[in-house]
């Protein structure tokens, strides 16, 4: 096993009587493109908030690049980039002003922050309205700006909560290429997305959280092998029968099999034509 970028032990978070994240053990190696999946309300965003220091765990430990998050929060935050759920922008700044601000907050000197801001705005195709406030950006533009802000300081681990939501196809292609290049240079990316095709195409490893617990973790191949082995048993034989001979199970099929979300094909609404 290589150097660990993310490691959690018994990570738990409760909100009153509800345990949103329950004893999660995660290990993500440095340089992995890691997908974190789960149905709505499974605990994905809560986990990512805890991993980035935005939410205090009720119990458990988090280590990022060998640093304990609770003891060395500043050291950890210096090394990570975050695009949280719902974004985190100062909407009364222009794109350039916001990126400059974030760069300075992450310790870049004024000149470097300015240079990187200009490069990022150009790369993200956000440089056509230099005087427009973030408040007047479309959702997709805000998403791109949040991504630009998350990488301005050159993080070693990047946390992305639904990064492609609301981003057009052209921008999504640019972003995917950028993320792949970052991974090739050794950056670890921890990503949540509901679009399983994107996760399947980008990620080498995934973990699936369901009702606050990790129910599967490993490379996509390992998960596929596990599901196929299980499907070979009588209980899930239908899954293997559905696919063509020699065809691999998709991540969607694997996911549905693991979280038990398959719907009976015959179920339909009688009044719909």
């Amino acid at each position: 096993m290589g150097e660990l970028a993310i490691q959690t032990e018994s990570l738990t978070r409760s909100f009153g009587v509800l345990t949103a994240v329950d004893q999660v053990y995660l290990t993500v190696e440095a340089g992995q493109f890691f997908g974190f999946l789960g149905p709505n309300g499974a605990g994905k965003s809560t986990t990512i908030k805890m991993l980035t220091g935005l939410l205090q765990p009720s119990a458990g430990r988090i280590r990022i690049l060998g640093h304990d998050l609770e003891r060395e929060p500043i050291e950890v935050k210096r090394r990570i980039g975050v695009v949280p759920e719902g974004l985190s922008l100062f909407d009364r700044l222009t794109g350039a002003e916001y990126l400059n601000f974030v760069g300075r907050m992450y310790g870049l000197d004024s000149r470097t922050a300015g240079q990187r801001s200009a490069e990022l705005l150009d790369f993200m195709q956000l440089n056509d309205r230099p005087k427009t406030l973030v408040a007047d950006f479309s959702h997709g533009m805000q998403k791109k700006l949040a991504l630009a802000a998350a990488v301005i300081h050159g993080p070693q681990v990047l946390f992305l909560d639904e990064p492609f939501e609301g981003v057009d196809a052209i921008a999504a292609g640019t972003l995917k290429a950028m993320l792949n290049r970052m991974v090739a240079r050794g950056v670890t990316i921890f990503l949540t997305s509901h679009v399983l095709e994107i996760v399947e195409r980008l990620c080498s490893h995934v973990a699936i959280i369901h009702k606050g617990r990790i129910v599967a973790q490993g490379s996509i191949e390992e998960l596929r092998a596990g599901v196929e082995a299980r499907a070979a048993s009588a209980a899930s034989a239908g899954l293997l029968a559905e696919r063509e001979e020699g065809e691999k199970l998709t991540l969607e099929q694997i996911f549905l099999e693991i979280v038990g979300g398959r719907r009976e094909a015959a179920q339909e609404l009688s009044w719909l034509a």
Binding site: L54, Q56, F90, R92, E97, V102, Q125, R129, D136
Partner: protein
């Protein structure tokens, strides 16, 4: 598809929407707080009804007396009052509160005629319209009692006047809605309305100084006002109230009011038709591709000096705060009001009737008073310092900085703004009254320093323990109860200290002692402020969920 082609008549559609409103109302009462608010609303409603009825009675009696005493030409004044209240009051409310939006009903297969009727119905059942209608009824009763022969004309003229107002009100509202749909316009409009609120404070001074010179200009406006709806209705009533009624003038009045109503109805139709056809009033710009432009050069010059001895994150916060200040209408108002009030104090001091005023007896206190006024306006911002950061607070929580630096940057920005304001007030008073004495200036700046440190010390803790998110361009926003209470306590402490200083000044005849006391207090507060900044770094970490929950809504 079966069942899609359902055709509902207008009455059924309107009925369905009334049912929807009722269901929304019932569902909104599920929480205890909502029920308590309903009770408060009922109490306020009864109070408003009593006030409206009292005004209605006054208008009825006024109309009665005007006809009885043979001065029906004054009836137009009453109608102007109703006209302004009916049409301009909602304009002010529009700046402050989210209005009911019926455009969301357009997703349903609603006919345009039903949509038009609904718009008018919303206008008719508005409390302001109900009160205005009540007042017109009261006037009609008063006129009828004064002269029964006048009643048919009064009913005709006032009904036409009411119909015109109803339609005009909807026209104003729908155009206002379009105007305020853009963020920047909404915020500018809000600033203008707030400034209009300040105007009455100057009316007394202005009338006293320039009242006589302005009278001919006011009289010159008469021909214009007589062709506007209240003037037309007033002239019609005046003509009908004569011993031998001037039927032609009265009938022309009714006709002209109907023409006004039809004209406004056509304007309303045009506006509503645009809405009906799917007009987009979105906040963001159209997603057209523009030519990439060079980024504006960062204006680093004013910050270069500060950046040389402040840590990078503090400078970044300082710069961000200044940018937020210049892009916040409410902040502009807060910055403008104190110099405006200083102007007001100076005008009052210069007033011919000043001899008995407090200011006339203590002119050396004019500068401290004006600055303290500014301080009282601006320091509450420090008690909820993240109010306008919204979701941006997540950037601060995710960044590798201690909140000591964040708060220091914020405090420095506000402190510099307060200091700059005091510097602006100084020449204003120096020109209008007399340059403040050295002792007054020293005492004022020492007090300013102490008051700022005290407010920042307490405010930094409160901002983390009781944060409240505010929207730009919106008025009905309250600090948390704890913040309001603490702000009150701070002001009481400050007033007590300032009062003590004033007494020493009265008895000893010098402000230098007060300056010394304030400076000493500021020096004593400084280490406490620094210690609290450190404490806030840990506090922010512990309170991050509260910050996120309250500011990222």
């Amino acid at each position: 598809m079966a069942g899609v082609a359902l055709h509902l008549n207008i009455g059924r559609q309107v009925g369905l929407i009334a049912g929807l409103r009722w269901r929304l109302f019932v569902n909104s009462l599920r929480t205890g707080q909502a029920k308590a608010e309903l009770v408060a609303l009922i109490v306020l409603g009864v109070l408003a009804a009593v006030i409206a009825a009292t005004i209605g009675l006054a208008l009825g009696v006024g109309a009665y007396l005007m006809v009885q005493k043979g001065r029906p030409q004054l009836l137009a004044l009453l109608l102007w009052g109703v006209f302004v209240f009916w049409n301009l009051f909602p304009l002010i409310l529009g700046a402050f509160a989210a209005q009911l939006d019926i455009r969301h009903l357009l997703r349903f297969p609603l006919r345009f005629s039903a949509y038009y009727l609904l718009s008018l119905a919303y206008g008719l059942f508005d409390p302001i319209a109900v009160a205005s209608l009540l007042w017109l009824v009261c006037m009609a009763v008063g006129l009828g009692r004064a002269n029964p022969a006048l009643l048919p004309w009064a009913v005709l003229l006032l009904a036409a006047f009411a119909a015109m107002n109803l339609v005009l009100n909807r026209v104003i509202y729908t155009w206002l809605e379009r105007l305020l749909s853009q963020r920047s316009t909404r915020e500018k409009f809000f600033v203008v309305v707030i400034l209009l609120f300040l105007l009455p404070q100057f009316i007394g001074v202005a009338v006293e100084r320039w009242g006589k010179q302005a009278a001919p200009f006011v009289r010159a406006l008469e021909p214009v006002t007589s062709v506007l709806p209240p003037g037309v209705a007033g002239l019609g009533l005046e003509a009908a109230a004569r011993a031998t009624p001037d039927v032609t003038t009265a009938a022309s009045g009714v006709l002209l009011l109907v023409v006004y109503a039809v004209g406004f109805a056509l304007l309303l139709r045009r506006r509503l038709l645009n809405q009906y056809r799917g007009e987009e009033l979105g906040e963001s710009e159209a997603p057209e591709r523009a030519t990439p432009q060079a980024l504006p050069a960062a204006s680093a010059a004013p910050f270069a000096l500060l950046a040389s001895f402040l840590p990078g994150p503090v400078t970044a916060m300082l710069r961000k705060e200044f940018r937020y200040m210049t892009r916040n209408g409410i902040m502009w108002i807060n910055l403008i009001i104190p110099p405006v009030m200083a102007l007001f104090f100076a005008l009052t001091w210069n007033s011919p009737r000043k001899s008995s005023s407090f200011m006339a007896r203590s002119p050396e206190l004019l500068f401290p008073m004006s600055v303290i006024y500014g301080l009282m306006v601006l320091t509450p911002i420090a008690l909820n310092t993240f109010a306008y950061d919204g979701r941006g607070v997540l950037t601060l929580l995710a960044a590798p900085v201690r909140f000591r630096e964040v708060l220091l940057g914020k405090n420095l920005a506000l402190g510099l703004a307060i200091f700059a304001q005091a510097l602006l007030i100084w020449p204003l008073l120096a020109v209008l009254v007399a340059p403040p004495g050295a002792a007054a200036v020293a005492a004022t700046f020492a007090l300013l320093l102490f008051a700022m440190l005290l407010n920042f010390t307490v405010g930094n803790v409160l901002s983390l323990t009781s944060p409240r998110g505010f929207d730009f361009g919106s008025f009905r926003q309250r600090q948390s109860g704890v913040t309001i209470l603490v702000a009150l306590l701070i002001q009481i402490v400050l007033i007590a200290i300032v009062g003590g200083a004033y007494l020493t000044h009265r008895f000893l005849g010098t402000l230098w002692i007060a300056a010394g006391i304030f400076f000493g207090l500021a020096l004593a507060t400084l280490p406490v402020y620094s210690a609290v900044l450190d404490y806030c770094s840990g506090l922010a970490d512990r309170r991050r969920e509260t910050l996120t929950a309250k500011l990222c809504k």
